[in-house]
C-alpha cells in the first residue's frame, strides 16, 4: 500500500481518528505520519469537518436543481457584498469570509449549525463592550421599526418619543465608540 499523502513511500503507519463516532483510517509512510502527528498534535483535524460542511452545503446547492441543470446555479451562488466570498468557494473550503457572510448565508447555514452543534443559538460568554453595543444596536433597530409603524399610523406624538429614545441610544453608542482606543 502506498502512502496516501506523498504517494511515494510505502504506508507503514495507520493513523486512526474517531470523529463523531466515525472511524477513519489514514495509511501513511513514517515521515508523513510523523509530520501529520506534529501538525495535529493538540489541534483538531479541521479538514474532516470542512469536508462535512462542504458536503452539506454542496448538497443544498445542487439538490433543488437535479444533476444536470445545476451548472448555472452552482457557478458561484450568492456572493457576500462585504468580502466577496461566493457560496461556491465557501462550499469548497468550508470557511466563511467575514462576519457579514453569516447574515448573507444565514438561512443556508442554519441546518449546518444544527448538524454540527445540535443547536443554533449562543448561550455562552458575551463580550462586555461589543456585547453591550450589539444589544443597543438591536434596541435601536427595534425602535426604528416602531417609529416607522407609528408614522404610518400617524401617531406623531408616539413617533416623537421613539425618535428621542433612538437619539439617546445612538448617543450612548457613539460615546462608547469614542471611549475605546482606536
Amino acid at each position: 500500500m502506498e502512502c496516501e499523502r506523498c504517494k511515494q513511500r510505502p504506508a507503514t503507519v495507520h493513523l486512526t481518528q474517531i470523529i463523531n463516532n466515525q472511524k477513519k483510517t489514514m495509511n501513511l509512510c513514517e515521515p508523513c505520519a510523523r509530520e501529520f502527528q506534529t501538525e495535529n498534535f493538540g489541534f483538531l483535524p479541521q479538514m474532516n469537518l470542512h469536508n462535512l460542511l462542504a458536503g452539506l452545503f454542496h448538497h443544498q446547492l445542487t439538490n433543488p436543481f437535479g444533476q444536470q441543470g445545476i451548472q448555472q446555479a452552482v457557478s458561484e451562488g450568492e456572493i457576500c457584498p462585504r468580502c466577496g466570498l461566493s457560496e461556491r468557494r465557501f462550499a469548497q473550503q468550508g470557511l466563511l469570509g467575514c462576519g457579514e457572510c453569516y447574515s448573507k448565508f444565514g438561512d443556508k447555514l442554519e441546518p449546518v449549525f444544527r448538524r454540527i452543534h445540535g443547536n443554533n443559538r449562543h448561550t455562552g460568554k458575551v463580550p462586555e463592550r461589543t456585547g453591550g453595543k450589539v444589544k443597543i444596536t438591536n434596541q435601536i433597530n427595534k425602535l426604528k421599526n416602531s417609529l416607522k409603524e407609528a408614522v404610518e399610523r400617524e401617531e406623531f406624538e408616539l413617533a416623537a418619543q421613539f425618535r428621542d429614545q433612538i437619539k439617546e441610544l445612538e448617543k450612548k453608542l457613539g460615546g462608547e465608540e469614542n471611549a475605546c482606543v482606536n
Binding site: V13, L15, Q17, E30, Q46, L95, G118, H122, T123
Partner: protein, 351 residues
C-alpha cells in the same frame, strides 16, 4: 521569558508535571477563537490588512500592562528562523498553520508560556491556555480574563444570536475548543482502548491517537476534545469534558492496578527494558523513543522506578523532536544523524 529563551528551552508551563491527575492527564488546553469586526477573516485578508490586524492586536496587547494578567510579548513570525518557528510547534505553543504564509502572522506569549495568542491563523486571534495535568477550569478562567482585557481595546465580531463569529462555522458560538492529552498505557495493554475511546466519541467528543502497526498507539498518547461550540456555555462544555475525563482516568488506573497485581514481573521487565535501552542505545528513532518514554512514565507512576523527576519525560518528549535536535546540534542533520543525536541526548539526560 523572552521569545529567544522560549525557543531554547524544552521546559514550558505545561511540562512541569504539576496539576491534578497528572499520572494520566499530561496537559489541559483551552483555546478560543476571536475575530475583529472590521476586517474579513484571515484567509480573505490582503497582506496590508493582515498587517493592520497585527497592529490592532499589538496595540491591545500594549494596553494590557497593569491589568493584572501578567506580561504579554508579541513576536512576528517573520522575526524567527524556520527552526525556531518549528520549535514553537513542537512545544505546542502554536499550531502548524501559523507557519504557512508566516510573514502575515504573529504570536503573543506570556511570561510562563501558559498563554499564547496566535494572530492571523484561521481566525484573527486564537487564544490558548496550556497547563499541566487536569486544569481545564483554571485554563478557561485565565483565558477568559485575558480575553476581557483585550476586548476593552478590540471590537470583536460578535452576533447576539450566534455568538463569536469564526471563519469556520464549526467553531461559531463560544469559539471554544478544550482538549486533554491523556497517557493511557494501561488501557492499551489490557486491550480496552478502542472500547473506551468509541464510548467517548459517542458522547460527542473527538478522540485521536497515532496507531503504529496493529492497534497500539505510539507513546499511548491520546487527545480528546469537544466538538460542539454553539448552544452550550463554556463552563458546561468544560464540565462535560472533565466528567468524561474522570471516567477515563478511573478506568486507566484500574487497568494499571490490575496489570501490576496480576502481571507484576512482566511490568517490571517492560519498564526495566525501556530504562536499559534509553540509557545505553546509540540510535533511537522518534517512534521508538515515544514508546519507551511511555513505558518509563508508566514505571514511574507505578513506582517501579523512582529516579525520574516528574517533568523529565515530558521535556524529553519535546527535546527529542526534529527541530529541537537541530537547534541543539547547531547544524542540519540527516534522519540517521538525528536518531544518533536523539540517543545521545537521552543518555545524557538520564545519566
Amino acid at each position: 521569558m523572552s521569545i529567544k529563551e522560549t525557543v531554547s528551552a524544552a521546559r514550558s508551563c505545561w511540562t512541569t508535571g504539576d496539576g491534578a491527575e497528572s499520572d494520566v492527564v499530561i496537559s489541559s488546553r483551552v483555546r478560543v477563537a476571536r475575530n475583529l469586526a472590521e476586517f474579513p477573516f484571515p484567509h480573505q485578508l490582503s497582506d496590508e490588512s493582515a498587517e493592520q490586524v497585527i497592529q490592532a492586536v499589538s496595540l491591545a496587547v500594549n494596553n494590557t500592562a497593569d491589568q493584572g494578567i501578567g506580561i504579554l510579548e508579541m513576536t512576528g513570525m517573520g522575526e524567527l528562523t524556520p527552526v525556531e518557528r518549528q520549535i514553537l510547534v513542537e512545544k505546542h505553543l502554536i499550531s502548524p498553520d501559523l507557519l504557512e504564509n508566516y510573514k502575515n502572522k504573529a504570536v503573543v506569549l506570556n511570561n510562563d508560556e501558559s498563554v499564547s495568542i496566535m494572530i492571523n491563523e484561521e481566525d484573527h486571534l486564537r487564544l490558548q491556555c496550556l497547563l499541566p495535568g487536569l486544569q481545564l477550569h483554571e485554563a478557561w478562567h485565565r483565558l477568559s480574563s485575558i480575553d476581557d482585557v483585550l476586548e476593552k481595546t478590540l471590537d470583536y465580531a460578535f452576533d447576539e444570536k450566534l455568538g463569536y463569529l469564526t471563519a469556520c462555522p464549526t467553531n461559531v458560538g463560544t469559539g471554544i475548543r478544550a482538549s486533554l492529552m491523556l497517557h493511557l498505557p494501561g488501557l492499551a495493554l489490557v486491550n480496552q482502548i478502542s472500547g473506551v475511546l468509541s464510548t467517548v466519541s459517542k458522547l460527542g467528543f473527538a478522540v485521536r491517537g497515532l496507531y503504529g502497526e496493529g492497534t497500539e498507539a505510539t507513546g499511548n498518547l491520546f487527545q480528546i476534545s469537544n466538538q460542539i461550540t454553539l448552544g452550550q456555555t463554556e463552563e458546561d462544555i468544560i464540565a462535560g469534558m472533565v466528567s468524561v475525563a474522570r471516567q477515563i482516568i478511573a478506568s486507566e488506573r484500574s487497568a494499571r492496578q490490575a496489570l501490576f497485581k496480576e502481571r507484576r514481573e512482566h511490568m517490571e521487565d517492560r519498564v526495566g527494558r525501556a530504562w536499559g535501552i534509553l540509557k545505553h542505545a546509540g540510535i533511537v528513532t522518534s517512534e521508538e523513543a515515544m514508546k519507551l518514554f511511555s513505558d518509563l512514565r508508566l514505571g514511574r507512576d507505578l513506582n517501579i522506578i523512582d529516579l525520574i523527576p516528574p517533568d523529565l519525560i515530558t521535556e524529553l518528549m519535546i527535546m527529542t523532536r526534529p527541530a529541537f535536535l537541530l537547534k541543539m546540534s547547531g547544524k542540519d542533520l540527516s534522519p540517521f544523524e538525528r536518531d544518533v543525536q536523539r540517543a545521545k541526548l537521552i543518555r545524557e539526560k538520564l545519566a
